[in-house]
């Protein structure tokens, strides 16, 4: 199956942007990663088995592209993270603190925790998307939760 590119953009742009941000921590780099993912979809002739297959493909492409951009010399990263965080319309102080705490984690922890908590992927699915072993993903997830608990204390339950 395939969906029109216009539909895919509308449906997935927020999720892909959030996934890219969990890697890049930069709005412009994240926008570039998402745009590249949509262009790749648009110019691909790939057929997808299900919409879930399409979603996983888009996330994998976006995360990989975000990693490439984050490690490249021409990385723009023009808006400081603190400035960007202040511009995001979080509803509560706790949300802002959670965002800041997640952004302070290492990249390999941020990506895993984002796919687990935001995209609802299971450890095996995250392993497949990232090309890592389930054991490595489980270890990163555990370490990330532990670090969040240390930073957020009672605001993070490790549930």
């Amino acid at each position: 199956m395939r969906l029109p590119t216009e539909t895919v953009i509308e449906k997935y742009k927020q999720n892909l942007y959030a996934a890219a941000f969990s890697v890049c921590r930069s709005p412009e780099d994240s926008e570039d990663a998402v745009q590249d993912a949509f262009i790749k979809y648009h110019t691909s002739v790939k057929e997808f088995e299900t919409e879930e297959h399409l979603r996983a493909w888009l996330i994998r492409i976006t995360v990989n592209r975000a990693k490439d951009i984050a490690s490249s010399y021409r990385r723009r990263n023009s808006v400081p993270l603190e400035e960007y965080t202040a511009s995001v319309p979080f509803e509560t102080r706790e949300e802002s603190e959670l965002f800041t705490a997640v952004m302070s984690l290492g990249e390999k922890y941020r990506t895993v925790i984002h796919l687990f908590y935001y995209e609802d992927y299971k450890i095996e699915e995250i392993a497949e998307i990232l090309g890592k072993s389930p054991g490595a993903v489980k270890s990163r997830l555990s370490r990330a939760r532990q670090q969040l608990k240390e930073m957020l204390k009672e605001e993070w339950n490790n549930d």
């Binding site: 029109p4 216009e6 926008e31 998402v34 262009i39 995001v88 706790e94 949300e95 908590y117 549930d159």
Partner: protein
Amino acid sequence: MTDREKYKKTFSALEPERDYLEKITNAEVIKMKERKHVSIPKLIAACVAVVAILAAMTAGAYAADLGGIQRKIQIWTKGELTDAELNITTDGSSSEYTLSYTDENGETRKSEGGGIAYDFFGRERALTEDEIIEHLNEPQVVPEDDGRIMLYCRDQKMDLTDKFEDGVCYVKLTVDGKPLYITVTKEGDHGCSMSTSPRSYPKPAK
């Protein structure tokens, strides 16, 4: 509120600002079916010729009914510019073609294929004649009868047989003064698949 609910609420506040739709509006995708080659032995080539004449007599009606186009063209086959006959039929949203030519051994060869183009909004349309001809002149990997695996791209020929490592071969050609990166992957005992890119070597097929 669970950690998951908190996390979702927090990260749903992130919103991209870019108009992605505008950025790729002019791009267009062309999907081509695999080009299939059918060899027609010399002995029955004469029969085919007779059938072709009969077919030509009714070509007008055929073309009118199915949107058919018949063209004498030149295509690159195995590094040689070759006269060929191209027949295209369309049903509005897809195109099918048959291509026939005489190969270097005097045998009549026939290939079949077709495809669909998608515009930005996902609407299907039939491929144009130019798009089909462009497809026909794309690089080809041909497993020859003698066991060699040959790459042909316009007037360029390359024997890839001994260039594979773990079933994959990478080749860089120059076409119209621009680089073309080609990845060829062996499939089964005799088959090969090929991907091309103007920027870098595509990943091998799984």
